[in-house]
Symmetry: C3
Subunit: 349 residues, 3 copies
């Protein structure tokens, strides 16, 4: 990274209550204690890594007040109340350095329909396409090569990364982040089987992405057959996730990467699905349900359930079965022994 913080800048952000040692280098990166190289800043956020501090090659180490070891020559320890919070402040500053806010305006290479409405504080980067009737809100960034279809509406303070597609008529709320390759509003998967062929059912609904949603790279959200596919406020979706048509995702859900949710299903608020979970169509997943990675869910789940496996079972039961399954060879032998014993005792039976 080309990031450079001087020691003075670091101290101004971290505001240490106490320092030990001294460093002259600038800081050019952040790394874990074990991976840090000279020129890096590191930190002790979790006491279990305490033993890694003395041997860390980091130039600057952010430590709790209670840490009492001594730095190596040319190394600076910064002692603070909460190293994790100090790190978060540094990362927020780094984020601004990595992605400096682009100036408002439309890049000359972008193709903007005369009928589109672009807020004066929005930034439309190179090679974007914004079609007729589309609206882009205040402070929103379309980074580069973003496509916004006819009559689609993007709220304010959003950030659409390179190659995002928001299709015709879809609606994006405020402060939404869409990562590269996200497709909002692809057609739902619906056909009628007529005369040996699958005839397409037109998909004329839309997708509504509510405020403060974030969606990971190359994820796809299908438009409704009619009506709306909804991603609820504050929900966070990882990479390569698929959401089917007319599905409603509640508020503040977490969908880890490669999750797939079929059509017309409802997730209530605060649902958490692990990676590669599959959810069938036309079912309801209650508030706060948690599902472990690769679970397969094809029936309604009551609020607060914690499930695992395919088909998904209560977590404790599924774990128990997982252990007993490994003892199946033993169980078969035990039954065989019982049968032999019976044979010996009751030869005629």
């Amino acid at each position: 990274m080309r990031i450079v913080f001087t020691i003075d800048e670091i101290c101004a952000i971290v505001a240490p209550q106490r320092t030990t040692g001294a460093a002259v280098d600038s800081i050019r990166g952040i790394a874990s204690l074990a991976q840090a190289q000279p020129g890096d800043l590191s930190f002790l956020g979790n006491p279990k890594y305490k033993a890694q501090v003395p041997s860390s090659r980091a130039t600057v180490v952010v430590l709790p007040l209670s840490y009492d070891g001594r730095p190596q020559p040319g190394q600076l320890y910064l002692h603070v109340d909460n190293p994790s919070l100090a790190l978060a402040r540094l990362c927020a500053r780094l984020e601004q350095s990595l992605w400096p806010r682009p100036v408002p305006g439309v890049h000359p290479s972008a193709v903007i329909s005369p009928g589109a409405q672009i807020a004066s504080t929005a930034h439309i980067g190179p090679l974007c396409v914004v079609e007729e009737g589309a609206v882009v809100g205040e402070g929103t960034i379309l980074h580069a090569s973003v496509f916004v279809g006819r009559n689609a509406r993007i709220g304010g303070q959003c950030w659409l990364m390179p190659k995002v597609v928001v299709a015709t008529e879809c609606v994006i709320g405020q402060r939404v982040r869409l990562h590269s390759g996200v497709v909002i509003g692809s057609d739902g998967f619906g056909y009628e089987f007529i005369g040996g062929r699958h005839e397409k059912v037109p998909q004329v609904g839309i997708v509504v992405v509510e405020d403060d949603v974030e969606i990971g790279a190359n994820s796809t959200i299908d438009r409704a057959r009619f009506g709306r596919t909804i991603i609820g406020e504050g929900t966070k979706i990882d990479n390569l996730v698929q959401i089917g048509h007319n599905t409603i995702i509640g508020k503040h859900c977490i969908l880890v990467s490669q999750v797939g949710i079929s059509g017309s299903t409802t997730l209530e608020d605060y649902v958490v699905l692990g990676g590669q979970v599959g959810v069938g169509g036309h079912i309801t997943i209650g508030k706060g349900v948690k599902a472990g990675g690769q679970a397969g869910i094809s029936t309604d789940l009551a609020p607060g359930s914690y499930v695992n496996g395919t088909p998904a079972l209560p977590y404790i039961l599924e774990r128990r079965i997982g252990v007993l399954k490994q003892r199946l060879p033993e169980l078969f032998r035990r039954v065989e022994a019982l049968e032999k014993q019976r044979e010996k005792s009751f030869p005629s039976s």
Copy 2:
């Protein structure tokens, strides 16, 4: 949506045999009975939702002839023979409104090789790239930012959504729809392990996508090592599906989202694979095979099989095992009880 239908336009499309009530509003959307708002049209397609009709807030409701309830004030009931068919007609009309047919011609921002052949009735949208020797057929739409590689051929009446890639030499039939982010003709995954390194096996075949295929957003179809990877006529593929090199998908198959099919496998016609199904390489899946979501298939399957689970088993057996698996804790207890009983009866054994 900015869609507006007057009541008169609706009636012209739906052709009701009988009406009840009256509405003055225009219709601006279609929604299910429960979700409809004033200004929406709804319908009763499935008798099980009949109880939702009286409380629906839809301005217009399409109902079977037999429905005999009374509309609310300002609400219009349209009685028809087949509400689902009436809805399909409306949706088809809406589809035309959402995506009005673009005028033929090439957008000035598109980069078209002088050696490409673009049919005069084709539409090449903004920021597309069409390389040397490529052919785009009559009436075909490349919506925006579509890439068509050297010597690739796209048939007539196709629709390629924003950000589709059709790589070098690949062949797309007639009336094919490719959704955003689809990649046709990425390299197959083939290496030889030589001297501790994976040496690339060149992938010089192509992909052939036959007529009337539809492929969902961000799906990937690998080009053959040599020869052809084939997607058969009328097959419909959902989002985020992966098809390996030299694989042959039959006609009129259905591949639900996140299916993965390894290389050199054959799916015969009318195969249906549920979401997240995985299929191994070099096998044959017989005509009309159905596999439940997340199934893992690594051996040939006879035509007409219906399988589930990993490894995939006949559906009925897999369901039975699924039930018995949950009774494993009980079975272990029962065997233990038998052993204790035996111990008591035959202490010396």
Copy 3:
């Protein structure tokens, strides 16, 4: 394909030690023995297909020296030491024909920041975006519509296919191939749950892709929270794979399509993961581990392990359990029989 090789050109490449028969056609494709049409070249690389040689319609067939059948009229047999090697040579030649090396230089439609450094022998295709401070190495090809973010560095002799995204600050080594739709450096998936909302943890690290890596279409590699996500030298990644933040993939690994690896996990060198495998976070997968398709791995694995299933178990045990699982209905019947027997023998117990 528009590929045309004359018989003389074929012979120059293949260098047969002996020929049988004669052909006048040019060769326009390569196909398997069974699928070949007149005008195709085919080959016998695996003795098990020997019976297909006499009926193959290929115009030219490459055969081992030991093959002693006779060609059909108009068909030419070329006998060589190693037909597979001869084919590899032909394919490498075909590869050059399919993708002729583009001339160095920057296409006028590309948007290149004045602060970017493009090597003089690099090729920047149409509609690419290269931001400020980015570096593109000697002989590297950005095919079309590729995005390279601020300060990102692409090494020499790389090939980035249409629609690839390399985000801010990420580093790509030498001779790396990235297929269409790959996203390098999307944000890692990290939030803190505060006051009922998921607050974003800034993701300010980078991705490092080492030399000779190949990554398949639409795969996504997340940038580190801080520090680096690393894809080790010579590793090959298939399509639609997800790699989480701060994960370290060793050298010469093979990740088949739709694999998902959570954050902060380490794969040592030479790991092979089958399609759709899921790997949890914060674990270590030892050198040379192999996992079958759809396995779910959530604990450390010792070097050399071969696992299968979810949760992943040693391959042999998992296969054994798979067989015994199918005998569960029988086992339940056998236990019931024992219980009935006991009941009969000890009615009072």
